[in-house]
Amino acid sequence: MTLREYLAFGLQALRGHRLRSILTLLGMTIGIAAVVLLTALGEGARRYVTNEFMAMGSNLLIVLPGKTETTGSAPIIGGTTSDLTLADAEAIVRRSPRVRALAPLAVGAAKVSFGDRDREVTILGSTAELLPVRRLAVAAGRFLPPSDPERGAPVAVIGRTVQNELFGARNPLGQPVRIGDARFRVVGVMAAKGQQLGIDMDDVVIIPVASCMRLFNQRSLFRMIIEVTANSEIEAAKRDVLRILAERHDDVEDVTVLTQDSVLGAFNRIFTALTLALGGIAAISLTVAGIGIMNVMLVSVSERTSEVGLLKALGAKPRQILLAFLTEAGLLSAAGGLLGIFVGYLGVGALALRFPALPAQPPTWALLASIVVSLGAGLLFGVLPARRAARLDPVTALGSGH
């Protein structure tokens, strides 16, 4: 018998029990659809975070005051943490040739008012460097002017939401706003950027870093964002930064330097683990579907015992019986698998419509795995019933069922 003939024979057998075949198929379909959909969710979350990081700019180092990483030596009890200052920032730029740009960052929250309108807004203090480093864009006017960071000019760049809420249709450029108890002049409006790592970049006001620190009475920067000249220089730049700051802070390493890669890598690992976990949960339903196939095939074999006897009387070899039943199981699982991928993609499509921001897409490995697993499960779980059929004694088999 040729493969086509086995397929035709198996298809006829499956059609003979339409409802049962469809229900078994459904089990496999749900299993595979679950794998496709759940891994797509996990992968989507991973891509979302990755994209967010990429949108921040590339080749970035982030310097935080304080040491958060656990190292081999015990923390020095009573050791003081030095502030991260603008002078530190200036020293890094001056001394490390691997630093292309450095944007100091101070953060606070204050009431911003114009006329009789006011709004509680996140205030970011930085320098002109923030624009290229964070890949931001100005929609109208200009960004913070490049100047001595220690000098806090009374100028502000506002986000799109702030503009809408405080100024409505009026042109905000050149208008005075009150932030906390200081006055600033609006010099620019940021292009809409949306959420970025949990901060609504449209609902911020950006002012010179010195003004921000004075406004909130801060002595230390919130962090520094450093753009390194090249990706290959990131580790070296990190060592530079640590060395320069240690020299300036009495030989104590009291800052944390995160590389974008390490943060991204950590997120990647977390989300890959999440995807695997989701895939694992879905795999349980696949296993259940496989056992369903085995169950149905066992029923099928015992129901068709006399048919097996007949086939043997007609000259069927054990191998042919085995292949016939295996083909049937394979057909069930392969059809269920294909249908499951289709349904899974439908689900992913629906997800994309509902949550356009989430780039949900099943990873290739999950697709390949679900095809292999569905076919494999069918064959694996089909082997036992098929072997049982092939080993039936023709005389006994012929005599059954009457």
Binding site: Q12, L311, K312, G315, A316, K317, L398
Partner: protein, 238 residues
């Protein structure tokens, strides 16, 4: 040519040994028409299964067309069944989901014959049993007699040398029963060795030769003159 020499078949049932066949020796020349008769439990079904290569003797020889087949492995036995033996059963054993044509094609499908040849030979076989107009009917759309005709078409489509019929009329009314017997007797007249297992005297009496089994042994082996079948050579003494 079938030759059985000192054939025994024992079954182990629990800790007892059931001797279904004991020291059976029998020669059936080609073209013979034999009825195997006997009360139930006499071993006639077991004998039929061994003759049909569905079962193997515990000891003794079974030589079919010059080849010892009693001890062949399962795969080779399947080959022998495929090419040399046709079965007709009391309960027809048609595959319910397949049409008459597809049922007749089954043995050819298993033997790996190409589709075109299968279709042609199935049509011929159905024509020979007078069922050309029922070719695309399923078994549940056919009467008992028609089902048995499909089964006969299926049993003969591979052009076997031996047709084994196990109570072929046992599930039919008398009229269809005789039609069926007449049909396979015509095939016997055309040269096919016909072995019918039956406990129906009327059917048995039609054979050229009657082998009676009692308690797993051949009790008598009689050749009848003037019976319906052709018969070939005189029976050898058991």
């Amino acid at each position: 040519m079938i030759a059985l020499r000192g054939l025994t078949r024992h079954f182990e049932v629990g800790d007892q040994t059931v001797r279904a066949l004991q020291d059976v020796s029998l020669e059936i020349p080609e073209g013979e028409y034999v009825a195997i008769m006997g009360p139930s439990g006499s071993g006639k079904s077991t004998l039929l299964h061994i003759l049909g290569c569905l079962d193997r003797p515990t000891s003794g020889e079974y030589v079919l067309d010059g080849r010892e087949v009693g001890s062949l492995p399962e795969g080779d036995l399947a080959e022998v069944r495929s090419h040399k033996i046709g079965f007709v059963f009391q309960f027809f054993h048609l595959v319910p989901r397949l049409t008459a044509t597809a049922n007749v094609e089954l043995p050819m499908l298993l033997a790996g014959l190409p589709p075109v040849e299968r279709r042609e030979r199935a049509a011929q076989a159905l024509l020979a049993v007078g069922l050309s107009d029922r070719a695309s009917h399923r078994p549940n759309q056919l009467s008992g007699g028609q089902r048995q005709r499909v089964a006969i078409a299926r049993a003969t489509v591979m052009r076997p040398s031996i047709l084994l019929a196990d109570e072929p009329t046992g599930n039919l009314d008398r009229a269809s029963g005789f039609e069926i017997i007449e049909l396979i007797e015509r095939m016997n007249l055309a040269g096919l060795t016909l072995i019918v297992v039956t406990h129906d005297q009327d059917i048995g009496q039609r054979a050229r030769r009657i082998v009676r089994l009692v308690d797993g042994r051949i009790a008598s082996d009689v050749r009848q003159e003037g019976a319906a079948g052709r018969g070939a050579a005189p029976p050898s003494p058991a």
